[in-house]
Amino acid sequence: MTMRPQSVRVRAALLALGRCHLASWRALVTSLRGLAAGGALTLLPVGLGLPLLPPAARLLRRGADRERALLARWTGRAPAAPEPLPAGVVALLGAPGFRRELAWSWLAPWSSCLLVAVPPALVGYGLAGALVQPFLWQLLGPGNWYAFVPVDSAVGALAAALLGLGFAAAGLWLAPPVLARYAAWTTRLLDGPAQARLERRIDQLTDSRAEVLDVQAAELRRIERDLHDGAQARLVALGLTLDRAEQLLDADPATARRLLGEVRATSERALQELRDLVHGVLPPVLADRGLADAVRSLALDSFLDVEVTADLPGRLPAPVEGAAYFAVAELLANAGKHSGGRRVDVELRCADGRLRAVVRDDGRGGADPDRGSGLTGVRRRLAALDGTLALDSPPGGPTTATLEIPCASSSPKTSSSSATASPAP
């Protein structure tokens, strides 16, 4: 074996050690938050807890959210997000999310002392034995012990150094499995029972389904109104004008000719309206070529310099393509209108069953994700597909918007809806 896998292992162990260290310190803060919440609870009978409990619960939630983010970074899987904290004290006491986080904070000292603090402690103690004892024993004289070794001679010092190295190595060796254990345990604590998780998921799905139906109904209404007030009305007007022109054909050819010119203009406008309507429903390039070329076509229409890089495996499921396209279109329009920048980079990538689109401009930043109906619309559209939109826009820029949508482009369930699917045997 070469040195490489070994050095990778050592680096991974050091990283795990650092994380263990961080986790054990965090456990201290967590248990303080837990104590605050516990104190508020015990003060409830005398009434003092009433105003104290909600802020304490919020404090606890912030810590738990931070922990979830860390676990996601460390293990790639975040504990399920809890339902938002309810407002009233009584509702708070019944909220499973709050109770779970309380239990987690009270167990934190144990998980810290018995589990995650062990590897850093071993390494620290080991290093003290290996690096300090050999120089210290002559100063301290008899009665100086390191672990179970009396260190009052050169032989003892040597033994202590070796033992210390052993402790440090053991700590390093233990760090990755201990961290994994800790992550699994904490994830289970924060996740709660499977039943509750499923219930929460069902609630989310019910909400997003209701929203999808709303959006769909609104879209149908818009299309109906556009057709009714636009193309349909123009076609009626066209018939009327044609009728008048027909009557005037012999008596007043000049006016008849003018009317025919109007007919032509009206029919062109009706066609243009139909075209815009079709484009709003499903942009032709998206239908023909899929997401990458549709976004390239958006880029060509933009007033900014838009650079598109795409790494996509052929066609994606139609709903995913549509949602991503309209989201990118909205983000590009925002960049053009508000950012003050000149250049936008759009990156489309599909990995681990997720489509990820990043839109980054070189503008002044400071975009507020909660303002503007456009972004809200994008969020709702993405939420229907379990997608997310993250906006990072510090004042002074740059603004980076990242959207992610789960997509299984090769799954048989969805491939039948794409144009490139092969026919059934």
Partner: protein
């Protein structure tokens, strides 16, 4: 002049064939799908092809793809593309080989028979015809980006008409200027867009391309 026609709607195909025949074209083949178009273009060696972008069996950009494929085999084969919509991306792909003899028009334009037949003739003669919508969007875009700063208002007018496939004579008539003025403006446009004269390329096409790429 021999034309190959591809359009999947029977009524429109019939109408187009009639219009072209009335104006002295010979319709060598009129097909309604992509593979048929590919075959007709290879076998009947037409002088010009009039092609709908969206054709069966895929109902995507089959017509455009067939036209581009045959143009790779027979460089410079004149192709006029008709579509319900105009997309810069497709315009760019048509113009990409820099040889000209391409056109891209909205389907509505066929209702103005004289202009449509003119466009077919221009493309067949090696010219370039872009739909006014494509040109309007290009102009709006380059104005917003400040890239037309170098061109005078008159030169912009000339470029717009040039991209629309008008001949020098037509430009003279439309702008009410003389032949020497058109030549002067054209030379100025080429110079400002840095388009050099080479025997193998169509400078008018390159001027339009330069605009599309900005």
């Amino acid at each position: 002049m021999r034309v190959v026609l591809a359009e999947d709607l029977f009524l429109l195909r019939d109408g187009l064939a009639r219009t072209l025949t009335d104006h002295g074209f010979e319709v060598a083949a009129a097909v309604d799908n992509g593979p048929g178009l590919l075959r007709a273009l290879r076998e009947s060696a037409p002088d010009v092809a009039v092609v709908d972008i969206r054709l069966p069996p895929t109902y995507t950009d089959e017509g455009l793809q067939a036209a581009l494929t045959v143009r790779r085999e027979r460089p410079g084969l004149p192709v006029l593309v008709l579509s319900q919509y105009v997309e810069q991306l497709y315009a760019q792909e048509l113009l990409a080989d820099g040889r000209g003899a391409v056109g891209y028009l909205l389907k509505d334009r066929v209702t103005r028979t004289a202009q449509f037949v003119d466009a077919v003739r221009t493309v067949a003669a090696g010219g370039t015809v872009m739909d006014p919508q494509v040109i309007a969007r290009l102009m709006a875009r380059s104005t917003a980006r400040g890239t037309t700063a170098d061109l005078s208002a008159r030169e912009l007018d000339v470029l717009r008409l040039m991209a629309g496939g008008r001949s020098n004579a037509a430009i003279m008539a439309e702008l009410h200027i003389g032949e020497s003025a058109v030549a002067k403006h054209t030379a100025a446009i080429f110079a400002k867009l840095r388009i050099d004269h080479t025997p193998d390329s169509n400078r008018r096409v390159l001027a339009v391309l330069a605009y599309l790429r900005r």
